[in-house]
Subunit: 428 residues, 2 copies
C-alpha cells in the first residue's frame, strides 16, 4: 500500500520547526512494510490544503495527516478532510468527556468555547483517544473511484503524535495487511558504513522475506531485519537465523539487537562487571560524560567527571605531568594516556576515559590538524590509547569524538575480559 504523509503547518513552511514527524512516520511505515512515496507540507490555508489532499488521495492509498487539529479557527485539517470525504461533522460525546477529563487532570481553568470544536468528528470516522492532549486522532475510511482510501488524522505535537501512533495507529495499520510485519535492528559500532554494506551485499541481494536494510547513524550502522509472517512469534523465528548470521559476521562489533543505544550498553556492561568509571575531557568539554548521564541509573557507575580544557586543569585535576604537556603538547597520545590514568586514580574508579583534541576552527597545525583527537582508556590500571582523525565543524568534531570514545570504552572492556579469560585458560 502506498502512503503519503501530509503535514499541515505554516510554521514548517517558515522553517521555524524541522519536520521530524515526517521522518518518524516514514521510518515506522517502512517497518510496517508500507511504501511512503510522498511527503508533502502545506500551510494552514484551506484552499491549498484541499488541493494537496486531493492530489494525495489520487496517488496514494493512505494519507496520513499531522497538525492543524487545534482549537483555533486557523486549524482546518479536520474540516478539510471531512469536506473532501463528503462527511458532516458531528459532536462526539466520548471525546467531550475526554477533553473534560484532560482539563481536570491538568488542573487547567475553564474550558473555553473553542475547545468543543475538538469534539466534532467526521460522521462515521474512527475516533482515537488522545491521552496527551485534547485533539483526538481520526481515521476516515472511504471509497474513491471504486478504490479503498484512508485518511488518518493525527495531532502535530510529537508528544501527542508518537504515543498515539504506537498505541493505536500502528496496530490498525498492521491489521490492514494479510500478514504481520515485525522488525529487529542489529546495531554495529566501530566499523564503517561501506565496509558493513559490502560484508552483507550477498544478504541484501538474496533478500526476500525477511528483508535487511542498512541505516547509517553517527559512528554506527544499524541493520534492520524485517519479516512478514502470520504472527509476531513466527516472524521472530524467521529473523533469528539472519541475526545469528550477522553476529557471526560482525562479532563483537554488533553490540545489540535490542532497542538500546551504545551508551546504555556501555553503562550496562559496567554495571554487570560492578565497575565504576571516571571521565577527563578536553575538547569535548563534558559531552561524553553527558551521554553517559543520559542513561537512567548511571549513578551506580559514574564516580566523577573532570573537564580539563586548560593545561593547568589537566595537571591539577587529573595529574598530567607538566613535562608531558611541554614535550608532547596537550593533544598527544601521552597526555591522553595520563588523563585516563589520572582521572581514574583521582576518582578511585576502575575505568578512566579521556579525550583531548583539536576541535577547531583555530589551533590546527600541519602536524596536529583540526580534527585530530586522542582518547585514552584505563581499565584496572592498564591504559590504551586511540587516535581519531575527524572532519566537520567544531560541533561535529566534538560529537564524533564523544561517540568514538563510547566505542573505545566498550572495546577496552571486552579486551580486558578476554585477557582475563586467557589468564584463566593458562592457569587451567
Amino acid at each position: 500500500m502506498i502512503v503519503e504523509l501530509l503535514s499541515v503547518g505554516t510554521e514548517i513552511l517558515l522553517g521555524n520547526i524541522v519536520n521530524t514527524n515526517a521522518a518518524y512516520l516514514s521510518e515506522q511505515c517502512a517497518a510496517l512494510g508500507l511504501s511512503v512515496y510522498y511527503q508533502t507540507v502545506v500551510g494552514d490555508n484551506p484552499k491549498r490544503l484541499e488541493e494537496a489532499l486531493k492530489i494525495a488521495l489520487d496517488r496514494s492509498d493512505i494519507v496520513m495527516m499531522t497538525g492543524g487539529l487545534g482549537p483555533t479557527k486557523d486549524d482546518l485539517t479536520k474540516e478539510t478532510a471531512a469536506k473532501v470525504a463528503g462527511l458532516n461533522l458531528v459532536e462526539d460525546e466520548h471525546t467531550k468527556e475526554c477533553i473534560k477529563h484532560f482539563f481536570r487532570k491538568k488542573k487547567w481553568k475553564k474550558i473555553t468555547e473553542n475547545n468543543w470544536k475538538q469534539a466534532m468528528v467526521p460522521e462515521g470516522s474512527i475516533v482515537i483517544d488522545n491521552k496527551n492532549g485534547t485533539a483526538p486522532g481520526l481515521i476516515i475510511e472511504m471509497k474513491k473511484d471504486g478504490e479503498e482510501k484512508r485518511m488518518i488524522l493525527m495531532p502535530g505535537p510529537p508528544n501527542e503524535l508518537l504515543p498515539m501512533f504506537i498505541n493505536d495507529i500502528y496496530p490498525y495499520l498492521n491489521l490492514l495487511q494479510p500478514e504481520v510485519i515485525h522488525s529487529v535492528t542489529a546495531r554495529i559500532c566501530g566499523l564503517g558504513e561501506s565496509f558493513v554494506e559490502t560484508e552483507i551485499a550477498d544478504l541484501i541481494d538474496a533478500q526476500a522475506n525477511p528483508t535487511i536494510a542498512p541505516y547509517a547513524k553517527t559512528n554506527e550502522v544499524h541493520l534492520r531485519i524485517t519479516a512478514r509472517a502470520k504472527d509476531k512469534e513466527a516472524a521472530n523465528q524467521m529473523i533469528k537465523p539472519l541475526v545469528k548470521e550477522l553476529k557471526k559476521r560482525f562479532g563483537h562489533y554488533l553490540y545489540t539487537t535490542k532497542e538500546e543505544a551504545l551508551e546504555d550498553v556501555v553503562v550496562k556492561m559496567l554495571m554487570e562487571r560492578k565497575m565504576t568509571i571516571a571521565t577527563a575531557e578536553s575538547c569535548t568539554g563534558g559531552l561524553l560524560a553527558s551521554m553517559l548521564v543520559n542513561v537512567p541509573g548511571v549513578s551506580e557507575v559514574l564516580k566523577s567527571g573532570f573537564i580539563t580544557y586548560s593545561n593547568k586543569a589537566k595537571h591539577k585535576l587529573v595529574g598530567v605531568q607538566k613535562t608531558s604537556l611541554k614535550k608532547h603538547g596537550p593533544v598527544s597520545e601521552k597526555v591522553a594516556k595520563e588523563m585516563a590514568k589520572g582521572c581514574a586514580a583521582a576518582a578511585k574508579a576502575d575505568v578512566g576515559i579521556s579525550l583531548t583534541g583539536v576541535a577547531g576552527p583555530d589551533g590546527g597545525t600541519p602536524e596536529k590538524p583540526v580534527g585530530l583527537v586522542y582518547a585514552g582508556c584505563c581499565v584496572n590500571g592498564k591504559t590504551k590509547t586511540a587516535e581519531f582523525r575527524l572532519t566537520g565543524n567544531r560541533r561535529k568534531i566534538r560529537e564524533y569524538a564523544a561517540s568514538k570514545a563510547l566505542v573505545f570504552i566498550r572495546e577496552c572492556l571486552l579486551e580486558a575480559e578476554n585477557q582475563l579469560d586467557e589468564k584463566e585458560d593458562e592457569t587451567k
Copy 2:
C-alpha cells in the same frame, strides 16, 4: 513569488534522514520575502519525480530541488528537470575542470567514468560551482503558459548545499526582487514566548515594512525584523528604530542582535570582564560545560568543570558539606549554592555555576518531582540560586536545565555589574 521545495531522496522517505535542508531553505526564503507554500519529498523514481515536478511548476513560480545530483544512475533530478523543461544535456567544460580540480584537492584516486555525468548540464542553464563536492548547482529559467518559472537544482548534502545557497543562490534570488530584503534577528532569553508575543502584539498588528516575526527556540524567543528597500544600507536604516524600540521594551532580556548564540555572548561577557568560570554539574552531567566549550576561544575563561553526579563527588570535588546533603538532599537550593561556591573555589575561578536536579524517569517524589532543578551561581564570592520546574523526558529536562543555566549566568553577571555601579554611585 511562490516557492516550492522539492527534495529528492528515497532515504528521506524511508525516515533514514530528517529533512533539515527543507527547514533551512524555508527559513532563508522567509528572510528573502519569498513565500514557501509547499514542501514536497519524492524518491529517486523518474516517473513520480516528473509528476511531482510538473505539479510544482503548475502551482509555484520557483521550484527549488535538492538531492539526486550524484554520479550514479539512480540520480535523476537533472535529467528529469531537463526533460520537463524540454532541454538537452550538454557537456560543460568548466564543470569538468572543477571536478578534476576537486579530485586533485582531495587526493582522490582516478576519476571514474560516471563522474563525468556530473559535468552534463541542461543547455542554457546557469551553472553554479560546487566548492565542496562534484555536483554543480543549476538554475533553469523557462516560460510555461506565458509565465516565468524557475527551477533551482542544488546538491543534497548540507555541507555542499548551505555554502552554495548562501554564496550564489541567495544573491540570485535577491536580485529577482525589485528591492533588497534584509533581516536582523533580536534574540531574547529569560522571557516566555507568549509574554514576548503579547508585548509586541501592537508592533505585529501595525507591521508593513519592516515586518516582525517571532520564532520560539529552546528557552529563547527570536524576533526577526525584515525590511525591503533599495539597498542593504537603506533597509538597515528602516530596521534600526524597531530594534531600538525592542531594546526599550525588553531591556537586558534582549541579549543580542548579531548572529551569535547565548553561549557565545556569555563567554564574551566573561572575556570582557576578564573573569574565569568553573562548572559543577549533577543532572546535566557536563552538558552545560559542553555548551560553553562549543565557543572557540573558551580556553581563556573556562578554568575547569566538575561532573559530580554522586553525593561523594559533590563532597569531595566541590566541597559540598555532608550535613547539607543529608539534611536538604542533593537536589536542593542549599546544595546548589555550595556546589557553585565550591567549584569556583576549587578551580580558583571568579564565577562558579552549578546544576542539580531530578532528570527522571525515576527518583521523583511529591516534594521533589521529576523536572525540579536548582542552579547556583557564585560571582566573586556572592552566590545566588534559581529554581526551575521543567517538563519532558530525561534528555529534554537536561537540555532545558543547561540552557536555563546560561541565562542565569548572564543575569548574575549583569546584576553583579549593577551592584558595582550602585556602589560607585554611592561613593560619588
